[in-house]
Subunit: 217 residues, 2 copies
DNA sequence: AGCGTTATGGAACGAACGTTCGTTAACAGC
DNA sequence: GCTGTTAACGAACGTTCGTTCCATAACGCT
């Protein structure tokens, strides 16, 4: 007669000590697994069953932590954007010089993107996947972040008297450079984020400051 | 007693005059419709039924033109890449100056991407969707295109003696700028490709040439 | 008139999908 | 010891998916 208890290999039925902490910990564990699955297969091609497998939960058990597949992607993107913005505001306090501020902006962005490549890919690749209220909330975060960068470029434009500069195009080009990284970054070839942030900031800043302004200085 | 013929509203059973031409014409029509659907919903989320609806074919009728959904995406990407590369080689013949060649490269890329935004989005957004032999063939085209750009940057690096320049990072940053356009381009705001190509080429070329080199000139 | 090729469509297949239902342990507070 | 909450699960629902089978027109050629 076989014993029954040892057969359970899946997430065991919770030795709940601190109820609130346990929920949060398990949720972020699930978000981490789901991020990996979405990164590998893409949101639409990934199934809840894939995430169930990756996280060790049952199919039904997952729905205790999110309302729908869309809601799950929303939670991932919201957390990713929030930590990106939080890191930025912390590093930007007290920085007055626009050029230094832009270098800080770029460094923060790349630190996040190169340090969490899977999260970065889900942010970049699935940035237009959601629809309705979820998308609106993410778009609001994205717009806030975009505007902050435009503001820095406009400050630079004013202090350096760059009359011809198209701030919108400059900022969107910068975002292109940085967000595209998820398609090519290879730590063995490209090193960590510091080795990318400086040359990329150099290209962008030389790019918008232009040749002429260097002579004046 | 109702007549029967007028009830047929769908693609009528082919007044075949020139068999070869008809096949090609219908195929590119289907590719165009499929591009639109893939662009709007993403490859994985788009169904063959969506493409059937958009192209006016029946579900089964489509499979006369491609072997599988993956094959359909392959055909789209192959055609897009081929015309991109063909346009480039035509415009680049006889151009000796590396800077001018790079401006030409950028102009050709943006002309294609801004002129065919839906095709561009499918190329960029689904660049890693296929697997196996299809992906290998597309990757080969992509690598050829990438190498051509690297070669131009290295020529620039040599003639201008830019010792510190990381060609790989520079080219991938340029591709980032250009390919990211599909996420933000709005003809009403940004105008046609000419208004984007020049400022973006300026950012890139000033960026890699750096401030110092301009003083020498 | 008859035949092979080109081109198309209706109907169906099995598989996989997101989600829900009802149930069940484990624990906390009383 | 009882009760409500937390956390998890197996099984199933109805739907949609990519793909295939088979039939059938229209045409070019003989």
């Amino acid at each position: 007669m076989p014993s029954r208890a040892p057969l359970r290999e899946k997430a065991s039925p919770a030795p709940v000590r601190n109820p609130v902490r346990n929920y949060d910990r398990r949720l972020s564990e699930i978000l981490r697994c789901a991020t990996e699955v979405f990164c590998d297969k893409g949101f639409a091609a990934a199934s809840i069953r894939d995430i169930s497998r990756a996280s060790g939960s049952s199919l039904a058990g997952l729905y205790y932590y999110f309302k729908s597949k869309d809601h799950l992607l929303f939670l991932i993107q919201q957390e990713a954007f929030s930590s990106l913005i939080a890191g930025l505001e912390k590093k930007l306090t007290g920085v007055r010089d626009p050029e230094l501020a832009l270098r800080t902006f770029i460094a923060n962005h790349l630190e996040h993107f190169v340090g969490n490549p899977k999260q970065a890919q889900v942010l970049s690749h699935e940035s237009d996947t959601l629809k309705g209220p979820y998308q609106e909330e993410i778009t609001a975060l994205k717009r806030k972040y975009y505007r902050q960068c435009v503001s820095l470029v406009e400050q630079l434009k004013q202090t350096r008297q760059l009359r011809g500069l198209n701030s919108r195009l400059a900022v969107l080009s910068l975002f292109g450079m940085m967000n595209w990284i998820y398609t090519w970054y290879n730590p063995a070839v490209d090193g960590d984020w510091k080795g990318i942030a400086d040359p990329m900031a150099a290209i962008f800043l030389n790019g918008v400051l232009g040749g002429a302004n260097r002579i004046d200085k």
